[in-house]
């Protein structure tokens, strides 16, 4: 009886030990050499796997980072400069700083400004609606409002606002990954430079039609009059195809263009109220 137990224990011990020895040598032989820095970098990255950097996920970005000779081609917009600094110090490379960006939907055609002229009965996605017709309003450039951007956002940074008919970006949540930019079939969403306190001056319109057509479709359309271009002291505004555009990198947030816009297509966000004199002027110009 006792001899059986001894044999059993002895056999198992021999099998166990020999397996351990084989495994040890196999592990030595087939060892996968992985840069330990990959794990370190992955730790620093946000881990959202959003794809904003152009790689399949954070791990893929980390693998690319350890191989890259410098960091000029690589940037994680979600982690921002902070994360990139850490990565640079892990790799011993020089960090590349970029201005933080934030997405903006360049359409202000809310139900108040654009009247509905038809009823869409099809599948409620922007991509399909845009492949069929110009949309429920007369503006063939503006937001369709079925929320493809909302679906694309992994960071809950877009709210749908059904009462207005167009979504809005929540600046503090937006990480500028660009998923919504790709999702919008009307190319309305743009990543703009992020200023302190989320301040911005933007032309919330993409309508390239002539003034009459544009205004018929939407009360707050850009009509391409060019007043803002003349007003801007920093050459930040350009005009192309009846549509003005403010370059967010050149804009100094002086707000001079806002009151001169006859249709109110230029919007300012998160500024303190203007002084009384300027305010009168603005009201006068929008009343025209």
């Amino acid at each position: 009886m006792s001899i059986t137990i001894i044999y059993t224990i002895a056999t198992l011990s021999i099998i166990g030990t020999s397996a351990a020895i084989i495994l040890y040598f196999a592990a030595q032989k087939f060892k996968v050499k992985e840069d330990p820095r990959i794990d370190e970098i992955e730790e620093v990255l946000p881990g959202a796997n959003c794809g904003a950097c152009g790689f399949a996920g954070c791990r893929a970005f980390a693998e690319a980072a350890v191989k890259a000779p410098d960091l000029s081609e690589l940037y994680c917009p979600v982690g921002g400069n902070e994360a990139m600094d850490k990565i640079a110090s892990i790799l011993g490379l020089e960090s590349v700083k970029k201005d933080p960006r934030v997405a903006f939907i360049r359409c202000n055609g809310t139900s108040e400004h654009r009247t509905r002229t038809s009823h869409y009965d099809g599948i409620k996605t922007c991509a399909i609606a845009a492949s069929l017709y110009k949309g429920e309003t007369d503006c063939q450039w503006g937001c369709l409002g079925y929320g493809d951007c909302y679906e694309a956002c992994d960071f809950d940074a877009i709210e749908m606002r059904p009462e207005l008919g167009i979504p809005a970006i929540i600046d503090d949540k937006c990480v500028a990954c660009g998923a919504c930019v790709d999702a919008c079939p009307r190319d309305l969403i743009e990543l703009r430079k992020k200023y302190p306190k989320n301040r911005k001056v933007v032309i919330a319109c993409r309508n390239k039609d002539k003034a009459k057509v544009a205004l018929n479709a939407c009360k707050v359309a850009c009509i391409g009059c060019g007043k803002c271009v003349k007003e801007c002291p920093f050459d930040a505004i350009t005009m192309e195809n009846n549509l003005a555009y403010i370059d967010s990198d050149k804009c100094k947030l002086c707000r001079k263009c806002v009151p001169v816009c006859p249709t109110g297509a230029i919007l300012e966000f998160n500024f303190p109220p203007r002084r009384a004199k300027n305010k009168d002027k603005k009201e006068l110009s929008t009343a025209k």
Binding site: T117, S118, D121, I123, A127, S131, L132, Q140, D209
Partner: protein, 443 residues
């Protein structure tokens, strides 16, 4: 046993309300908007400018590429402007606005009703005349006819099929045209046969138009090379590939042109336009359009000038009914809902269908129950449920692999789905996107 195509197909109710109404001429509109993109291919380039006085039949926009077509004025008057306006595509498109001041035709057009039987012109002149007249496929695809008549090198057609199927419910314009212009259609067929250098032509007509079949059987007695085939009623038999299969038994391979199997299909409306262009020098500026709908007071077939606003047709047919839900350009299966009734009729408009509120409502879609009825009815042997899925998920490489580009957008799958899933809406989106991807790859 009557012939038909073998795969798939559905049987929607015919509803040919206006089959007994002779073609009437619609009064001239006060102004027309003639879009520059009325055909497949590049839009025509305008050759008139604001303020020009023009006559009916005068060239106003020139073909601007290999696949493109001329456009002629459908009225006489003054060019108001060349500008954007809404057309049936749902987007603002360039077009020519003309204020109508009468109906003064250019002198070259022979306006008499006499039938000209002799075909004196040679092949090249016939094709040139067709090209100059701006003729495109009037069955709905609007492919320029002169391009079709010159097959790619190394291919040769041996049979011309004349499409008198009109399988789309409600529409009767081709049916009426066959009854009223049979002689012209047969001479037009001869002209096209000469242009194509084929010895044989077959007119395919569905069995629900027995009067047209009898008439054509009678008339073709003096045309030994043209025969008539009665086809079993089944949608979408009017599709090019389905008609070829039904009449000749040949199957067009995936992605190939019909001429690859030696056949060429042309709609009766196109053939009639060819007759008018070659024998009467008349460019394509008017066509027969069915105005129909169950709630409409007087469904009818009108000969309409291109560019006439849709509202004028509806007015003539008794006005827009109070409970209108949708106004559709085309038939109920393949037509597109119009956004506004000010949209002009174009070369591709075969009918205007007014749907009542109740008829036009979509049933709420339920989940796919994997019954495969969409697969059963697909005339192109596709798997609509799968194509819908990959289009919805935007997996366009999978969609391409599964031949999404072969879809003829007949809508049989959506029609037959017991869960009311709008399959075609998704597939059409996938097809358009795959088409763009394929084109960008070629560049």
């Amino acid at each position: 046993m009557l012939k038909t195509f073998s795969k798939g197909g559905v049987h929607p109710p015919g509803n040919k309300l206006s089959a007994g109404d002779a073609i009437e001429k619609l009064k001239l509109p006060e102004s027309v908007f003639i879009p520059l993109a009325q055909h497949i291919g590049s839009p025509a380039a305008p050759v008139v400018k604001r303020g020009d006085a023009i006559k009916t039949g005068q060239l106003i926009a020139k073909s601007s590429g290999f696949v493109s077509a001329n456009i002629h004025s459908s009225v006489s008057g003054k060019v108001k402007k060349v500008d954007l306006s809404l057309d049936s595509s749902g987007y603002l498109k360039q077009g020519i606005f003309i204020d109508v001041d009468g109906d003064d035709w250019i002198e070259e057009i022979d306006r008499s009703e006499d039938l000209i039987k002799e075909i004196s012109l040679d092949r090249e002149t016939i094709i040139k005349k067709i090209q100059e007249a701006g003729i495109v496929g009037l069955g709905g695809a609007t492919f320029p006819t002169h391009v079709k008549l010159v097959p790619p090198k190394g291919m040769k057609a041996d049979v011309l099929l004349i499409n008198g199927v009109e399988c789309e419910p409600y529409l009767t314009s081709d049916h009426r045209l066959m009854l009223e212009k049979a002689d012209e259609i047969l001479i037009g067929t001869r002209l096209m046969m000469k242009a194509l250098k084929v010895e044989k032509a077959v007119v395919g007509i569905e069995n629900n138009k027995s009067d047209a079949i009898e008439l054509f059987k009678e008339k073709t007695k003096e045309f030994s090379d043209i025969s008539v085939v009665a086809l079993k009623v089944k949608y979408p038999q009017g599709g090019e590939k389905q008609l070829i299969k039904a009449v000749t038994g040949r199957e067009v391979p995936s992605g190939a042109l019909p001429v690859a199997v030696g056949a060429l299909v042309s709609n009766v409306g196109t053939v009639f336009a060819v007759y008018e262009a070659v024998q009467k020098n008349k460019p394509l500026f008017e066509r027969v359009i069915t105005v129909t709908g169950k709630a409409l007071a007087d469904p009818a077939n009108y000969k309409v000038r291109i560019g006439t606003p849709t509202s004028l047709l509806i007015e003539a047919a008794g006005g827009l009914p109070a409970d209108t839900g949708k106004v559709i350009s085309g038939g109920p299966m393949m037509g597109v809902a119009l956004q506004s009734i000010d949209v002009p009729v174009t070369k591709g408009t075969s009918g205007i269908l007014i749907m009542r509120e109740q008829e036009s409502k979509r049933e709420e879609a339920a989940n796919c129950i994997r019954c495969s009825r969409c697969v059963d009815v697909c005339p192109m042997s596709l798997e609509p449920y799968y194509l819908k899925l990959v289009s919805e998920k935007q997996l366009f490489d999978k969609a391409e692999e599964n031949r999404i580009s072969d879809c003829i957008e007949c809508g049989s799958c959506s029609f037959n789905c017991p869960s009311n899933i709008p399959l075609l809406d998704f597939i059409r989106f996938g097809k358009v996107t795959v088409g763009q991807i394929v084109r960008s790859r070629k560049k």
